[in-house]
Every structure is written in structure tokens, then in C-alpha cells.
Amino acid sequence: MLYARYPPSSLTRSLGSFDAAESRVYHSGLGIVHRYMLTVQEGIMALSKAEWCRELARLVGIPLMEGEVAEVAERFESLMRELERLTQLDLAHIQPVLVFPEEEA
């Protein structure tokens, strides 16, 4: 739902059907929302790595400098690739904490 709440942008414009899609999202129920999101994802896939990164940055409110988008994209891709390694862990029953309670070793 994240992308559907945002106004037209380079991402959604690249799909060429934002208004129609938006209309479907708000008027046709969850099935349509699901199809819409798939369409958005296909749109993302169609974007270059740099364009994808620029759009994500726009959505989180972080302006990128022209000339550095590719570098940010490389760093982001590397970060996500590295963090993908954590999916191999069984973390289902672990509750995350920010500060560990005091205890002895």
C-alpha cells in the first residue's frame, strides 16, 4: 500500500497509468489493490537500479545529489545483498531488544 498513497512521480509516471490505477485502488477492493501493487512492482523492475534508488529516496524524504545516485545505488544494493544473508537464520522466536537487560555471563 505504500506506493499507492503517494502522488504521481517518476515511478508511477513510468507506468503510464497512475490515475487509472489509483482509481481502481480506491474503488474496487483488495483484489484490485493486489493487482495494482503487482503492476507497481513490475514497474519498479523495469526501472534501472539508479532510478529505483532515486525513487525510494524520494519516498523516504532524502534528496540525493545528481551525480551520486549510482554510488548510493551500489552501496544500497551491497547493503541489501549482505543483509539478505540473515534470511538463512531461524529468528522466528526471537524478540528484538535495543538495550540488553543487565545479567552476568
Binding site: V60, I62, L86, V97, L98, E104, A105
Partner: protein
């Protein structure tokens, strides 16, 4: 004692010499100021030198000594701190142009406690921008490693490492988010301690990462490290996370052998294929020294250490981007390019991924505590290789694989203790054939700094590494 001899003393020795009236605090401060003037133009350890304030404080300390006043084990010792700690009325840059005009109206708790201990602040030390790493164009000059000027002194408490190696201060306090204190200590042949998270107040220490940052005593000797920790540790109502545990005398285990102490070499780090052979050899020799001191030596397995670099960056960089959100939104252009692109990339990490890293952190802690039920102290190298050249750190990344090899790999060694909130210390354990320092890292259970410092002290006293001087700084 001549003025030229003073800077070669440890902090503890300096305090004793002052107490015994062998030297005056004014002579001591002047001796360090002379060396700073002579060498810092090349080394770039300092951002701010507090010449007048330091001399004024030294004259006051001199009067206290002459009156026979109460002086403690750090009284009159000239210290310098990473420019990440707030100092009332004194510029605090955090190594960034963003803070080039920031003058705090309060002292960090660490600064206040160092003053209460009678130390004298010589100045504020250089660091990587915002206590991160990889700054390409440091605004206050590239800090140079006295052991080889073409090589990095480590990050991010780089100025602390340089100042200790070049004897431009008697002791320092840096900061350690994932190795920022222990790394420079290792690269500069100094001592660097990451205390248990919550042991030292973070009030007035500009945050890099809310739940990983700690103040880090950085010193010439293990004894100095114990004294500095004793001075700055303890509960602080202005940092609600600080522990209410009493602060012990961290030197109580000094002078004992290591009989009954169980040492565990971390297998996953020791078998790291990327480790420099001379580093591995130095660590193994150090373990043998510990065994000769009476320690039982074991090998322990902490499987998740292999992923500690990824977990660390997933937590630290993401939180770092959160802590710098205002800068990223409005003042990103003032940041160094490397800092900017690193934080921007981290700002894009989905919450689910960050959450997964937080969970993995808990699992890592469980594995560390399990290992620490088998042994008392964990051992590894502090860094897998000796200090690299500046150019190797600051060159732009070529592709994602380049980022991985240069950015993630080395963070597992020190980042694992940050993630698990456990204390760890780096001490000198040798030199490569190129005369580059090698650091030995010891880790222990929560609040086990007394034990950690005791083992480190026993090793230090049995080896000569802390007495070697960097070339070209004899003065």
C-alpha cells in the same frame, strides 16, 4: 627529569611524578604542547588545541600540589578527547563541516568526570566524520599513523590513536560504536577499551548509533586504561541507560598470574581465510604467552560471528541514518561524499530488514554468552590485517562486490562485541616485518572489565610491545 622525558611517561607515571613533586603540572603540560607544536602539523591529530586553558588549569593544579592537597591517580595528567564529546564553550565539530560552528553550552559527563579526577584537557582530537568511517576529505586534515604516515591510524577515533602513538597526550577518551576505539588502538599500538554498554554515560557524546555507542578509554598502557575507566564509569541520571552498579577498582587483579583463567580462541575468526598471516601468527604467539602465565587455553565456536559484519552494518548504519535524519534532509551537501552516500543508502533500508538485524543481534548475544559459560575471556585479532594505506580506505567504491570486500569484511572482528554489548579491549601484541602494529583483542562477560584488564595487564607485563616507539617522533 627533563621536559623531553615527560611525554614518554604513562599517565599513571606522570601523576606519580607530579604527586612526588618531581615535575610540576605546568612543566608537564608545556612538554606536551611543545610536542604538539612540533609534530601535529604533519600528523593532524588535533582539531582544537586548548593551549591557554590547559596552562591555566596546570597552574591551578600546581598550587594544589604545593598546598599538599588531595591528588588522585590521574591528577595533573594532560588528556585529549575525541571531538565528539561536548565541551562547554569550546568548539565540538564531530569531524564534520555541519558542526563547524557548534559550541556546546554543557560538558559531556565524561568531560566533567575527567575534570573531577584532576586531569587537564589539552584539546579535541580529529575523527572520521560523524564518527563513521571512510571520510574522503577530512575537513581538519588527514590523520596520519605515526608508524607509517602513508597508512591510516584507524577509524573513527583516529586522532586519539595518533596522539597516543606520537605521545601528543598522556591519555585519551575516544568513542566506540563498532570498533572505533579498539581499531585505532590496534593500528597505532595503543590500548583501547570498549566498556560494557551502560557502564559509561553517553550524555554529551554526539550519537552515531543510539544503542551501540560507548565512550572508549584509549591509553598508552593497560594500567592507564583501568584508571581512566574508573574515573569516567558509573551511573548518570542524564543517561537513563547507565548502570547503577558500583564502580570497582579496575586495577585489583594487576600483579596476579593467570592461573584459573580460561581463555577461548574464537575459531571462526582464527580460521578466517582473509586474515594476514603475520597477524595470525602474532595472535597465536600471544595465546601462548597467556598460557605461560597460567591460563587454560581452549578453542570456542561462535558460528554467527561470520555474519557479525552484516548484522552490525544493518543495525549501526540504519540507526546512524536515523540519528542523522535532519542532516540528510536539509544539509547533506555539507557532508563528505563518503559519509553522505553511506548514510543515504542506509536510510533506504526497509524496517523489516532492520528488524531482522536486531533479532540476529540477540541471537549473536546468546551465542557469545554461551561461549562465555565455557571460558572467561575470548581472544582474537582486533583487525584481520595491519593498517592499510589511506588510499585503500578512501578510494570510491567500484561496484557492490568492492563495497562488500572493503566495507563489511573487517567489521566482524570488533563489531561483534558492540552488538552483544560486551566489554572488549585491544592491546599491542606485536609488529609485522614492515614494523606495523598488530592488536590483540580480549573480550569478556557483562561488567567483567576487572578480569579483562587483569588479563590484559598480565600479557602486557610479559611482553615488550607497549615500549616500542614509532619512528620519527623521538624529538
Amino acid at each position: 627529569m627533563t621536559r623531553h622525558e615527560i611525554p614518554w611517561l604513562s599517565a599513571a607515571e606522570t601523576a606519580v611524578a607530579i604527586k612526588m613533586k618531581q615535575v610540576s603540572p605546568v612543566e608537564v603540560v608545556q612538554a606536551y604542547l611543545d610536542r604538539i607544536e612540533r609534530f601535529d602539523g604533519q600528523l593532524h591529530a588535533y582539531i582544537t588545541i586548548m593551549r591557554d586553558a590547559a596552562l591555566a588549569a596546570a597552574r591551578q593544579a600546581e598550587q594544589t600540589v604545593l598546598r599538599g592537597g588531595d591528588v588522585g591517580p590521574l591528577f595533573g595528567v594532560p588528556m585529549a578527547v575525541k571531538d565528539q564529546f561536548w565541551t562547554r564553550g569550546i568548539l565540538t565539530t564531530n569531524g564534520s563541516r555541519v558542526y563547524r560552528d557548534f559550541v556546546p553550552d554543557a560538558d559531556a559527563t565524561v568531560i566533567a568526570r575527567l575534570q573531577q579526577a584532576g586531569t587537564i584537557l589539552l584539546g579535541k582530537l580529529n575523527l572520521s566524520e560523524l564518527a563513521m568511517g571512510g571520510t574522503q576529505e577530512p575537513p581538519w586534515g588527514i590523520p596520519r599513523n605515526p608508524w607509517d604516515l602513508e597508512r591510516t591510524p584507524g577509524e573513527s577515533s583516529s586522532g586519539s590513536g595518533v596522539a597516543l602513538a606520537a605521545h601528543l597526550c598522556a591519555a585519551s577518551v575516544g568513542e566506540d560504536t563498532g570498533g572505533s576505539g579498539r581499531g585505532p588502538a590496534s593500528y597505532c599500538s595503543a590500548v583501547g577499551l570498549r566498556p560494557t554498554f551502560t557502564r559509561v554515560s553517553r550524555y554529551g557524546m554526539t550519537p552515531m548509533c543510539w544503542y551501540l555507542d560507548t565512550a572508549a578509554p584509549m591509553t598508552k598502557t593497560v594500567q592507564d586504561c583501568a584508571l581512566v575507566l574508573g574515573a569516567i564509569a558509573g551511573y548518570d541520571p542524564r543517561d537513563p541507560f547507565t548502570s547503577r552498579r558500583p564502580v570497582p577498582d579496575y586495577t585489583t587483579r594487576f600483579g596476579r598470574d593467570l592461573r584459573g583463567v580460561r581463555i577461548g580462541l574464537i575459531r571462526e575468526l582464527d580460521e578466517d581465510a582473509g586474515m594476514h598471516p603475520e597477524v595470525k601468527q602474532a595472535v597465536h604467539k600471544a595465546v601462548e604467552v597467556l598460557r605461560q602465565q597460567g591460563a587454560e587455553v581452549h578453542e570456542v565456536s561462535i558460528p554467527l560471528v561470520a555474519l557479525a559484519g552484516a548484522i552490525f552494518v544493518g543495525v549501526a548504519d540504519t540507526e546512524g541514518a536515523g540519528a542523522r535524519d535532519d542532516i540528510l534532509r536539509t544539509r547533506a551537501a555539507e557532508l563528505d561524499r563518503a559519509s553522505r552516500t553511506r548514510l543515504q543508502a542506509a536510510a533506504l533500508v526497509p524496517a523489516k530488514v532492520y528488524n531482522r538485524a536486531l533479532k540476529a543481534r540477540v541471537l549473536l548475544r546468546q551465542q557469545f554468552l554461551e561461549a562465555l559459560r565455557q571460558v572467561d575471556v575470548l581472544v582474537s585479532a582486533t583487525a584481520p590485517a595491519p593498517p592499510p594505506k589511506h588510499t585503500a580506505l578512501t578510494a570510491p567504491f567500484v561496484d557492490a562486490d568492492d563495497v562488500r570486500s572493503r566495507f563489511f569484511f573487517r567489521r566482524a572482528y570488533t563489531g561483534c562485541y558492540a552488538l552483544t554489548a560486551l566489554p572488549a579491549i585491544s592491546i599491542p601484541c606485536g609488529f609485522t616485518t614492515d614494523n606495523l602494529p598488530i592488536g590483540l583483542q580480549l573480550g569478556a562477560g557483562p561488567f567483567a572489565e576487572e578480569l579483562l584488564l587483569g588479563v590484559a595487564h598480565a600479557y602486557e607485563q610479559a611482553t615488550p610491545w607497549h615500549t616500542r616507539r614509532a619512528p620519527g617522533i623521538e624529538g
